[in-house]
Structure formats: structure tokens, C-alpha cells
Symmetry: C2
Subunit: 313 residues, 2 copies
Amino acid sequence: MEGGCAVVALIGRLAIIGVGLIGGSLARALKRARACEHVIGCARNQEGLKKAMALGVIDEFAMDVGSATEGADMVVVATPLGTTEAILKSMAGHLHADALVTDVGSAKATVAAAARKSLDRHLALFVPGHPVAGTEKSGVEASFAELFEGHRVILTPLLETDPKAVQRVQKMWEKTGAEVIMMDVERHDKLLAATSHLPHTLAYSLVDCLAQMDERADIFRFAAGGFADFTRIASSSPSMWHDICLANRDNLLEVIEQFSHRLEELKDALREADSNALMEMLTRAKAARDVYAANCNSQRAPGKTGPAVGPKS
Amino acid sequence: MEGGCAVVALIGRLAIIGVGLIGGSLARALKRARACEHVIGCARNQEGLKKAMALGVIDEFAMDVGSATEGADMVVVATPLGTTEAILKSMAGHLHADALVTDVGSAKATVAAAARKSLDRHLALFVPGHPVAGTEKSGVEASFAELFEGHRVILTPLLETDPKAVQRVQKMWEKTGAEVIMMDVERHDKLLAATSHLPHTLAYSLVDCLAQMDERADIFRFAAGGFADFTRIASSSPSMWHDICLANRDNLLEVIEQFSHRLEELKDALREADSNALMEMLTRAKAARDVYAANCNSQRAPGKTGPAVGPKS
């Protein structure tokens, strides 16, 4: 109640399947914005759900997807990608006719395929989504209401998706302080392979490589400040990244190939002590990184809409 | 003057050759600790020196190494590695008999060779050093007195180095709040190739790779939060890293080779959709990264001496 008028929340009953960093943060953000009335959490791990209750992130929990989604207005699937198909199948018979369904997976082609296979007549109300936000931490205890503020959420509606469903999911995300963007599935998966899945792959590979070296004790002991930043993403959830890597493996393999080619060029420059080639490459990379950083900063300033194009040489 | 007693500073006249992030921060830290009386800066770029004067980082400047080092008690070479030999040669005839000389280069074998070639009878008073601290920024305007606090400075004395010279350089670094560690040149260069030079190489290669892609505008636009951390080091000074890569190229090539091998394994796991192999690798890497992070945190707690050994599987 505000000013004597009853305020109707955007979402009456919100079901969050997978109450971890993303699912938990979404519930917190929507509660903070008074955009939902009741949150029901669902997960395989009861301990996590009890923790989520204790933290006030959810109001109720169910151990099976069917009962969690029964009567929900909005269902958000926030589990590792490999579980999406089974979860969509489990809810299909329980959803009420107007219930919206969305997800938060970092790769969208397998999600689209899973939805087409599992949601049947409900497919039009499924809106694939991806909040491009997160930390290296996992679990509801790492969730916080501000996670999505100033970040982008990419929605990748299918041909079958009802535009009104897209609008309502967009509205939900906007309540968290995120900027919502539309993109097709293929473009999303290609872009994310480059900007997110490749960096994660490199960070995991680097840490694994160093951890196998004989000098590993001293290596981790004498690592400089930059190392912590560079490898932070390798502390992300292995099961989540296992699923992302496999879900988007064709795109990921392609960008790894391109990266390897670039690294090979750098190796050649080193082997031949080719000072010019090396200097050119480092200068080019720094210029691109500086443009990116400047755009990140200007995005935070009010009134800006988006960054300029990165350099190409 | 404190309490009516004249306090004699550790260093009377300090000459900093290269007043950038590291040289400038060292001058600031020593001034803050009242560990030096007078700082003379030297660089090729007069603008930077004037800025350093205006910022109070140095008290005086000279445009040539000879006059800058004349009469100095302590000379710190803080320029890109490729300039070390020429700089040591320029000061050799000007140093007074007791003047200590040290440097801050991130690779030590070429520095040791340069010192042996250039310093002649003064070699015993040269202490190769490497503060394992920094940011991706460059220039005196990025310098700050706290840069070395809680960080390690590695000294790599040569067989020819006078132990008393080592002690005095150690004392200087301790005044900045750093922990000083001794290591031989070969071990230093091997470790730093793994912990610092390899990550920088990967970050530069990644950014350069993405900046060449057709979708580069959107790639940099839709990069997630982790991307900024992961690529931050690619904004470091290209000329500095050009010199480091070339100075330590044998060790660097070796660790790049090991990394490529690891990445190849991951590619194989992806190609074959080998779920177990992928999961094992990600889990192993996360475990190693978490041990590293826990040790970093425990080092910050008082009374701790160093981190435990990272896992090996």
C-alpha cells in the first residue's frame, strides 16, 4: 500500500527453479522493487532452499518442479544448462495457461531446442533469456539484489514466442535495474563464445596448467596482483561451466581456434625475436582494451546509450 | 627532526631513473616513510619529470643519467628492460664509490648480463630487484605511495653482489611496506614467466584476437563483468611488456607451450563432448584457484607467513 492506493505487483507468484547466485539475486531484486508478491524456490538441494528461506530470498519452497510451478505467474529456470530440458518437461503439465517461463542460461541454442521439445503448447510463452552479470561465486549465500543493476539482459525470443510474453519478461528484468536487449539465438551464442566462454576457458586452462607444474607451490605463492584478477573467473562453478562449454561447443571451438592462431603468431614473434611484430600486437591489444574500458566508464555516466566500436587494425 | 633528535634518513640522495608508476610510487613511499632526504628524477620525457615535480614525487630532475646519479647514495633503475644496459653504462663513470644501484625489472637474467657488462668495478654494489606489484596504468600520475604495501619484492643478488648492499636495498623496500624475498635469477625468471608473463601474453592475445573479429563492436559491447577483470592487464604498457617478453622469451615460450598443450586437451574434450574429462579439468582448476585465493586472504591476516601448496592431480 502506498499513498492509500493498493499497488498491484508485476508478478503475483514467482517460481525460481535453482536458487543460486542468479536465481537468488533475481528474487532479491524483485522483492526489493516490490515487483513480486510471493516467491517459491525449487532445487534439488534442500539445505540451499532452507538457507534461502532463512535469508528471506524465497517465501516457500518445493522439492519438485511440478508443485513449484503450479499456480505461478512467472517461472524462471536458473539451473545449469544441462538440466533445462528435464526441468521444462517436468513443469509442462503443471503450468497454468498464462504462466510465463524464462531462463537465464549463458548459451541459447540448446535452450531453444529443449523448449521446442518439452513445452508443447506452452512454447509461445517461453522467453529465453541471459542476464550478462555474475560473479565467480555460487550459491544463494552469494546472491545480492544489486547484481543486475547497470548490466545487460539479453532476451532471445524464438519465432514461436508471443511478443507480449517478451514484453512482460523484459519488464521483470527492468525492475532489477538491468538494460534489456533483444538478439537472435545464433548471434547471442556466437558473441558470448567470444566474450565470455573463451575467457573462462582460458582462465581455467591457465590455472590447470600452472597447478600441474613442479613449481606450483611457488607459482601460486609469488603470483602478482594481476594474477588474481586474471584468474578470478576460474573460481566459477565447474558444473555450470561444464554445461555452458558443451552447450556452445561449436562456437567455442571456433573462437579457441582463432585465439590459438593469434597466440601462435605471438610465439613466432618471440621465437624470431621480431621486435616490430611483437610491439605492433601489444600496442593494438592495448588500444582495443583502452577503448573498451573507456566505453565501460562512459556507460556508467548518465545519458549514454552504448559504447563506440572497438578499433581494428 | 622528531622529539628534538635529528633523524638521519636511510637514504640521503635517491636517484630514480624512469619516474613512472613504479619509480614514482617508490619515491612517494620512501618520502612518506621519511626514508630519503632528496629525490632526483631522470627520464627522457621532460613533461613527465615536470609533472613529477608538480606532484611532489621528486625534488629535482636531470635529463641525463650521468648528472642524475652523480652524488646519489641509491640509484633505482625503473625503465623498460630494454634500456637497462645503456642506462647502467651511462652511470658507471659517475657513481660515487659507495653508491648502491638496483633495478625493478620483471625479468632478471638480461639485467644481470647487462650489469656484468656495464658496471665494471661497481658490480658488487648492484642488487637486481623486482617489486611484484603494479597496476595496468603507466606514468607518474598513476603512482601512489601504497603500491608496494603487503606485496613482495624479490631481490636476486648475483655471486658478485656484496651482502651489505643487499641488506641496504632490502631495508629500502621494507620502508615501503613490502616483504622482501631472495631468489636466484634463473628461478625468478622461470616463476615469473608462469605467474605473470604468461597471463599477460594470454590477455594481450585474447584482446587482439577479439579486436580482429568482424563482430568486434558487439563483442566489446556485450562483454560481461568478468571480461574487464580478465583483460585488465592487456591495458599495461606495450613497450614495457615488449621488453619483458623478449628478455624472458625462452622461459615464456616454454610456458606458452605448456599452456597450449593444456588448451589442446580441453579442445579435445569439447570436440569429443567428453563430459568427464571436461568436468575433471574445470574442477581441478577451480580447486587450485580457490586454494590460491584462500592463501591470498590468509596472507592479509596478521601473523601468517605464506600460502600452502596448491593442489596437483
